[in-house]
């Protein structure tokens, strides 16, 4: 088996929680903090930590606003985040293809 694709997998995205966040955001223009938290069943602290890591890598953009006088935090993938996510999927597909019977 060629280990090359596996070695290229982005370590930041590969973590289970962060991969879940990236997957959710990849299918929507933006999601609120509470939507992500409820859908993934994460704690506030856990989600905040993962989002901060993804933000530091430049994969996720966080914006804070107010909706009906309540704070609203929304997260979205940056262009770099979308590219990194697409590459990650490509690599996973390569790994699967390598072992498909021809």
């Amino acid at each position: 088996m060629n280990p090359e694709p596996f070695l290229q997998l982005d370590r930041v995205i590969h973590e289970k929680g962060r991969l879940a966040i990236m997957s959710m955001l990849a299918a929507s223009p933006a999601l609120s903090f509470t939507e992500l938290r409820d859908a993934l069943g994460m704690t506030d602290g856990n989600l905040t930590t993962h989002i901060r890591t993804l933000q530091e890598e430049g994969f996720v953009a966080v914006s804070k606003s107010f909706a009906n006088k309540r704070p609203l935090t929304t997260c979205s993938l940056t262009a770099g985040g979308r590219k990194a996510f697409a590459s990650y999927i490509d690599l996973l597909e390569q790994i699967v293809r390598q072992h498909k019977p021809r």
């Binding site: 596996f6 997998l9 991969l19 879940a20 997957s23 959710m24 955001l25 990849a26 299918a27 929507s28 223009p29 999601l31 609120s32 903090f33 509470t34 939507e35 409820d38 859908a39 993934l40 069943g41 994460m42 909706a67 009906n68 309540r70 704070p71 609203l72 929304t74 999927i89 996973l92 597909e93 790994i95 699967v96 390598q98 072992h99 498909k100």
Partner: protein, 211 residues
């Protein structure tokens, strides 16, 4: 990483991406509200002197607008309570899926008002609205939990049965004219249907269920 692990990873990603696009507002209060409005419409419609096609269409248009407006306000209240945007991408998808069926239903109603048939023929619009509403719900069900699609199927089956049973005159027309008053039919099918589904959802629906 083993290939089967990679395949599992891809499947999980796919599930998460699909989940992200799904509408997650609680439907129970919306269905119960619409059911109440529909049943009240059936009772009030029969009580008012609205036994003409135009009055029937106008009255049920008012009932539909009341139901829709209240539903939007309930959705908005839920979104604000959860500190989430109201007009979110899943909400937009659901609204877009509902529009074609609803629009054709509106046109069918306008056509009925224009043709203005005799009162004892007005029931025909009920199965047509039922079928179109079922199609609209079925389309919206692609972006909601699967229960809504099954609810759409119930409307399709009910509409089909009404059309075949009443239109095909398998039911005695004299009995049908007495039992299936258009206002009662509307109240029973739409009001009763929504109320029953709302009560079912009230006991089964789980909000914010983690994956």
């Amino acid at each position: 990483m083993e290939p089967n692990q990679a395949a599992e990873h891809l499947q999980t990603i796919r599930t998460l991406m699909e989940r992200s696009a799904v509408y997650r507002r609680a439907l129970a209060p919306i269905m119960i509200y619409c059911g109440g409005v529909g049943l009240a419409g059936g009772v009030v419609g029969d009580w008012l002197p609205l036994h003409l096609a135009r009055g029937f269409v106008l009255f049920w248009a008012v009932v539909a607008v009341t139901g829709l407006t209240g539903s939007f306000l309930l959705v908005r209240r839920q979104a604000l309570k959860d500190s989430e945007p109201f007009w979110s991408p899943p909400t937009r998808r659901v609204a877009r899926a509902l529009i074609p069926g609803m629009a054709v239903g509106t046109l069918a109603g306008l056509l009925l008002a224009w043709v203005s048939p005799a009162w004892n023929e007005c029931w025909l619009i009920v199965p047509i609205w039922c079928l179109l509403y079922g199609l609209a719900l079925h389309a919206a069900g692609f972006f909601t939990p699967k229960g809504l699609q099954r609810f759409g199927w119930l409307f399709l089956i009910t509409g089909g049965l009404l059309l075949v049973g009443l239109g095909g005159q398998f039911v005695n027309p004299v009995v049908a004219a007495q039992v299936f008053q258009p206002h009662w039919l509307m109240g029973g099918v739409f009001g009763g249907g929504h109320l029953a589904y709302g009560i079912y959802l009230y006991f089964t629906e789980k909000r914010g269920q983690p994956l």
